[in-house]
Amino acid sequence: MAGKDEKKIIFKSVDDLPPMAMSLGTMWVNKTASWRNLRPIIDYDKCIDCMICWKYCPEPAIYLRDPDERVAVDYDYCKGCLICVEECPVDAIYTEEEGK
């Protein structure tokens, strides 16, 4: 599957289209950061690596970063639902308002 660098698909004309509406790329193309007005921030000192936030992120916008495999938020996609904040058992995630 593609990733963050997924390219927007540009059809120039009807001839470029497949015969039916068929996906040719993934939703990685759609950065949903604009949906967010509160930004979850992980406090790695507090984080106990329980992976609960990762497990419950509906996007998913939490991934295991290289190389230490600790959880990290992908701010290009995180919509700011704050499930991770709510579910973190040790309150290791706090929020900040966007655009501030």
Binding site: M1, K55, C81, L82, I83
Partner: protein, 300 residues
């Protein structure tokens, strides 16, 4: 390597179009982890018709057929027949639908497929109303809940339809309930169901913030409370007879803890809450009794 309680591989991409905190999006993410890439999805009209993304994009990493609203089971029946005749029986044929597309308009296709024993895994992400069209009653909407078609002055007068009981009466090999809060349980059930032949159905309770009138961050909490209060018990039924309750809280929490968090229940009176509590209590006891009954009839 991290030790994980659910599969690591992701088959769903971010960037999809679910609302903030959508339980249905998470349900798909978890289900695909359990199913893996040898999967074909049929999705009828529901929020997932939108969530997956507009042409020419898709968030699901597996082939997906968008189908008319009422045809999740029947279209899947065709996919399944094709897999059989083409010798691709290792592919999981999955119908993925909302509660409306299942309990209501999809009911007949399901009943037919269940009766024929079509080889389909049907997963209904149950957000308890028609959310894609903006929160109208489905027959999965709980008793006394508000929706735009069961307004506050006249909330839903009928209890939630018992889809598990109905499918059990069809004597299908496997039906189960699940929630996104108990992710490991859900993943396990999907994996188990995927290995069984015939018609199988999993109902996964998937809270919907706009539809339930709840803040997005409590999606998991709600799904958990639904189980802990006994509003939505987790259980399985095999061959229509063998009931097994997967999570048995020592003591059920009062339903009010679940109800009070949700705007769709904000009109409930004390009496309403008591009535619901009594219903939940009785249903819970009934479920325990059914589990017991399964044991009794085992050697009939």
């Amino acid at each position: 390597m991290r030790k994980l309680t659910i599969p690591r591989e992701e088959y769903m991409t971010p960037g999809h179009l679910a609302c903030q905190g959508c339980g249905g999006a998470l349900a798909m993410r978890l289900a695909l982890k359990a199913l893996g890439k040898k999967t074909i999805l049929t999705i009828p009209a529901c929020c997932w018709s939108v969530i997956d993304g507009p042409f020419p994009y898709s968030a699901a990493g597996v082939p997906l057929f968008h189908a008319p609203f009422e045809t999740a089971a029947s279209t899947s029946a065709g996919v399944s027949a094709a897999m059989k005749i083409l010798g691709k029986e290792d592919v999981h044929v999955v119908a993925w639908a909302g509660d409306g597309g299942t309990f209501d308009i999809g009911m007949q296709a399901i009943s037919g497929a269940a009766e024929r024993g079509d080889n389909i895994l049907y997963i209904v992400y149950d957000n308890e109303a028609y959310m894609n069209t903006g929160i109208q009653r489905s027959s999965a909407t709980p008793y006394k809940a508000w929706t735009t078609t069961t307004p506050y002055k006249f909330p839903k007068a009928r209890p939630k339809k018992d889809i598990i009981g109905i499918l059990a009466a069809h004597k299908v090999p496997y039906v189960a309930t699940a929630t996104v809060a108990y992710a490991e349980d859900f993943v396990k059930k999907v994996k188990k169901a995927a290995q069984i032949k015939g018609f199988r159905l999993i109902q996964v309770l998937s809270p919907c913030p706009p539809g339930w009138k709840t803040p997005p961050e409590i999606t998991i909490k709600l799904a958990r409370l639904a189980v802990q209060t006994g509003v939505f018990p987790l259980y399985e039924v095999e061959n229509g007879e063998k009931y097994k309750i997967n999570i048995k809280p020592k003591k059920l929490k009062p339903v009010i803890e679940y109800l009070k968090l949700q705007g769709r229940f904000r009109h409930l009176t004390q009496a309403d809450v008591e009535e619901i509590q009594a219903m939940v209590n009785r249903n819970w006891k009934l479920l325990l009794a059914k589990e017991e009954f399964s044991r009794q009839i085992e050697n009939l």
